[in-house]
Symmetry: C2
Subunit: 198 residues, 2 copies
Amino acid sequence: MEDLEPFAGAPEDTREAIMKATYRALCEHGYAGLTISRIAEDFEKSKSLLYHHYDSKDELLLDFLSFMLGKFQRDVPGSEEDPASDRLDAVLEESLTHEGGLELLRAMTELRAQAAHDERFREHFMEHDRVFREGIVGILEAGIESGDFRDVDVEQVADFVFAALSGGMNQRATADPGPKTASLAELRWYVENRLRTD
Amino acid sequence: MEDLEPFAGAPEDTREAIMKATYRALCEHGYAGLTISRIAEDFEKSKSLLYHHYDSKDELLLDFLSFMLGKFQRDVPGSEEDPASDRLDAVLEESLTHEGGLELLRAMTELRAQAAHDERFREHFMEHDRVFREGIVGILEAGIESGDFRDVDVEQVADFVFAALSGGMNQRATADPGPKTASLAELRWYVENRLRTD
């Protein structure tokens, strides 16, 4: 569900350069060990530029989260012309078994946990969850339109599928990092029996 | 899945008194704002006693997590004599729609996120997840034994159900705190169609 290999190319502008440095520092030091100083170590331009843009570490991290969400919305994998069942299966498989991207998953888990006691982070993750659920709703609606899927309550199904995926990703980030093949098999049973018309 | 109203009675011994003070301080200040000093404010006995038992805040929190897991294992709600389908449904409903216990859910989410960059916390949550999955496996096995449930792969089904529940709880702790009634309805569809023999 997350873009698991961000910042592969050279940054296009200053903001993207700051975001790339933030990402690297977050993966290396974790939320607790992160400071603007440490982000600056990975940032080729001046440290004062970072302080000029951001008053605090949390303000920078909230901007990082918005940037990542925007990036995800632009870079959705696959094509809308692919069959809905293939698109949905790609989301399930990518979320639960992707071997790479564990560092990003762990960093996002730490940032998400800030929402437990920080309203600004909670507002971001409300929006984050809405965007991801809407992505699943879009696939479900396309499948119903094409006749591949039954005419289910798409909001309800999307809420459940997203809960199962985010639980699996959270478990990989914080306990056993191995692929969630058992959960993937059951989720595929659910899609087959709940959604598929054939 | 968590014991949502812990420490209702008076503490039975010093360790339980420390755990109760830790719980209160964690709910009030969150992980980042927590210090042994703040825990001591809620602890009737001396602060030096706390430092005597624990070298650091994390050591105390790891002991708190073990204590809570042991408490959960002792205080499983319901009776093993209840029908397996009722026991499973109680777990689903309690996990996804319980109105109380949001503070504990948030505190546990923050502690769990420490596992992203701390091996000791990761080891605890590996064990935590194992215990919760085994709890679900026990209910599934009882249901198969009694003929209420089909002879499914219990480990696989338990992994999936637990992922869906933990994802829903994580979302409540960090985004929309409302009951996950949509996810609960789909999970009930899954149990009805995947497990029930009648």
